[in-house]
């Protein structure tokens, strides 16, 4: 029984977390580790206050938002930082709409536009909207153990088994206790390191460990990284499905 790794909007496909972290038995298979990570992050609904910090060399751009999502298919985020105040992003399945309060009108983003980096960040719309189904597309092996930020981790190597994946190879450092991927490396077909993501802060919500602060950096561009921070995370709260509609954007 596998689940697609759902994500809140604007987090890259990299925030995987550990499962109800009791046993860290040696001899766990890669699949099992992934499953535990999955259990940490899967939710029916989620609400949080998010902050996106886009670093480019010396400059930082900060965006703040209130986000709500239902599974993987629907998400709504409203920006609260002063410059973008009132702008809303709505995702339904593979479609994205942006609502602008100044003109009270919506723009639809489709097709290959989605490959662009959002707001100049290292996260493309595609990254945010689609997830590489790790189970279906990768073969997972445990390649060793290592320490990250003082925490012992399993090192997982994921090799793509199909051609249509974002990244040919991924390496994950999964916290042995909390089953959170503290570090991930995304490699290209050639082996070149494309992106690195790190989880900087983990919060315990109920009996889950949820990553609430992560950073992704594009290895091909110097000084280019994006941080995503989630505050006031509420999981599986009642959410009305009607809020994920175009009509609702105008209100």
């Amino acid at each position: 029984m596998k689940t697609r790794t759902p994500r809140a909007i604007f987090t890259a496909a990299l925030l995987c977390t550990a499962g109800a972290g009791t046993c860290c038995a040696a001899g766990l298979s890669g699949d099992e580790i992934l499953k535990r990570m999955d259990a940490n992050t899967s939710y029916r609904t989620i609400e949080y206050d998010g902050t996106l910090a886009i670093y480019s060399g010396d400059t930082v751009r900060t965006k703040e938002m209130k986000a709500t999502a239902m599974g993987t298919s629907k998400a709504l985020a409203e920006f609260t930082n002063p410059e973008d105040k009132g702008t809303k992003f709505l995702k339904i399945d593979k479609n994205l709409w942006i609502y602008f309060p100044s003109e009270q009108d919506t723009v639809k983003i489709s097709g290959h536009m989605l490959k662009e980096g959002m707001m100049g960040s290292d996260v493309s719309y595609q990254d945010a909207l689609e997830s590489d189904d790790l189970f279906k597309k990768y073969a997972v092996t445990v390649s060793g153990e290592d320490t990250v930020d003082g925490r012992p981790c399993y090192v997982l190597t994921l090799d793509a088994t199909v051609k249509d994946v974002q990244y040919e190879t991924r390496k994950m450092w999964v916290d042995e206790e909390r089953f959170v991927a503290l570090k991930q490396e995304m490699h290209a077909k050639s082996g070149k390191l494309l992106k690195v993501s790190r989880v900087l802060e983990v919060q315990q919500i109920g009996d889950r460990f949820f990553p609430i602060r992560a950073e992704i950096s594009d290895q091909l561009k110097q000084g280019s990284r994006t941080q995503f921070i989630m505050a006031d995370v509420r999981l599986d709260v009642p959410v009305s499905e009607t809020m994920f509609s175009l009509r609702n954007l105008g209100r």
Binding site: D84, T87, I98, S102, D105, V107, G111, M113, M119, G120
Partner: protein
Amino acid sequence: MRNIWRNRRRSLLAMLSVALASLLCLVLQGLLGGFQESLVKNFTKNETGHIRVTTKDFADRAELLPVDAMIHHPDQIESAIRTSPAIADKVRIMTERISFGVLLENKGLNKTAVALAGDPKTEESLLYLQRSILPGGHYIDGPSQTIIGAGLAEDLKLSVGDALKVVSEASDGSLQLKKFRIVGIFRTGVTTLDGKIFQVPLGDAKTFLRTEGGSQSIIIMLDDYHEAARVAALISALLEDPTLAVTPWTEIGDYARLIQIETKIFNALDLIVMFLGAFIITNIMTMVVLERRKEIGILKSMGFARGEVLVLFLWEGVFLGIWGSLIGGGLGFLLNVILHFRGVDFSSYFTSLEFPVDNIIYWTVDAPVAAGIVILGCVISGVVSIIPSLRAARMNAVDAIKSI
């Protein structure tokens, strides 16, 4: 002297021809100058102008069309330039511009494009897009209006009267949307323009991009594009701002090279025409002298010495030449001046009237060159009169009279 008036017709003819030759040479000079000026103008008007003032930051990242590298107080810069006596006279047009990349959307279709924002009135003589507007539309005459390329209209299925949704990142990094009303669709025949560009009023762009009055660039067109580098240096010194880049057109882009080649070709043509002009004068003078061998014979038989005959003919030749050149040169110069201010619209010669270039040629007026041509005419006339005059002087009277 009397000789000249006696054979009025011939002398007049000769003088007229010299005059015409000088006139044509001079007018051609002016025309060529005007062509070159037009060439440079058309190459530079869309992007760089003769001189472009931007921040250094922008200059480094120009291809990205960044909106966060604005000149904050363009109005101050413009007034500084306008009140500087050394510079103000040389400037013909000065205007602000912002070009920025956008995402357009209509009925679910997306397209990336580039917006050109400028003062609509000024852009009528720079971007010239009003010339290419298809029937059924009109040029921008108010805020929130836009004219878009035909390719854009096709790809997004837009027509005149529709709203154009423009999404762009503003100066402060926020994402903004603005709706413009399409008042006209233009077709220039240049696919890169028609498929990618649309024009909007500068004021709208400044608000939309939250530049707080800032602009990306100030475009300056001079009276004489040759002075671009010099004037750019003057402006740089005047503004004394290390964050600004004042660049002449010769240092931006690749067209400077192409224009230099065109210039060389023009110069070659010029030389050929001048050569032809000189040749004609030579012809005329030679014929004048040769025609009058009989007179030479008569003069000699009347007792004129060889030297006197020589001087006589030489003087006549030079006299004709001087007057011819002066009149021709003078008229030519006058014509150049008139055409400089009036200009001639060559659009009717060009099949594609929609092409957004300035087809009005303003003749250039160059006093030193004019003087040079006049002097050249005189000198040639003089030189060319010498040899046949010498020969005439040496002829013996009888032979001369016998020849016809």
